[in-house]
Amino acid sequence: MEKSIETTWKQGFLKSDALIAPKVNDIYNRKSIHLIEKFEKMFKINIWGIIIGSSLLFIGAVLAGALVAGSLMLVMMLYVAYTAYQELKSLEKLDKGQSSYAFLKSFKEWIDRSTERYGNMYRFVYPALILLFYFGIWYSDIFSPMREKVAESTSDLIFGLHTYTTLAIFIGAGIMSAFSKVIHKEDVRAIYGKILDKLDHALAEMEELQR
């Protein structure tokens, strides 16, 4: 005789294998891997953003007749993209076999290390970009009428550049250099803020779970 669903339900669960609970010892495993995969994806997009952005800047510089400044900016930004790629490689080497907590902790350490390293690198990159941009524009072909106009209207010139503007740019570059770490940290937070918050939240939860 055909069994009713009620009987199937009752009899089926009498078997010992029907209700085996999975272990709850690695609750965050998949979550933590997802979190880092998301970060890696965004990081890759960011690298491509640098490559594409600097290439467009280079094309713009060439069209404006600032080949040297454009080339220097391109080389510098490609170097930044290359180091970011190397950082990404080191992130991929994180041991996924360790516990979720250790895994997320090492990810957090990687972010801190990376932010620190980039903060140091941007100490030179930020001012260099500002100066290259400024000199590039100033000496570009497209800017030559303006250059002549400035030369006619003032005697405050240094190497053909307006002295006070140049001074202001140098001070700006110096400030950017001095605050490079803070600026870079804010930059990182603006791009990866959501993921970093999730990471902090997950770590805090896991620390509470361990108590």
Binding site: I5, A18, V24, R30
Partner: protein
Amino acid sequence: MSSDFYSASILPYAPIIIKICRAYTDTQEDFEDYYQEVCLQIWKSRHNFQGQSEWSTWVYRLSLNVSMTLLKKKKNTPQHTGSEFIPEELSEDSKAFSDESLEQLFQAIRKLSEVDRGIILLYLEEKSYQEIADIMGTNPNHIGVKIKRIKERLKKLLDGKIN
């Protein structure tokens, strides 16, 4: 989550969680994910339990809510697993239950809507219409009719009359 809390407040109710999670998942991997998420949510929301109902009722409600939410999320996320290409013999290995009839029943339940799955699970767990309505947040007057319809659909699914 302390092992004390798990042993005292979750493990005795694990059968409830297992049955619900099985009804909302097709694979062992998803089942373990759902189970763990339910346990985590029970632990995280433990302070919200005010003792107005039985702890088991609360576990039912929470397990259903978490499972339905995860299933919705999964439906909205494109899958890249290519599971549709898994050969028949491989999917046979991933059967949740050795009891053939029970396995078929769960396969049929998984074809129901999210809410219908919850209602029939609670019915099979011998919950009263009032309890089902309380857990599902519906009107108890309609539960009887609803269960009758779900059972008819399940029967058709089990007989292979519909897919």
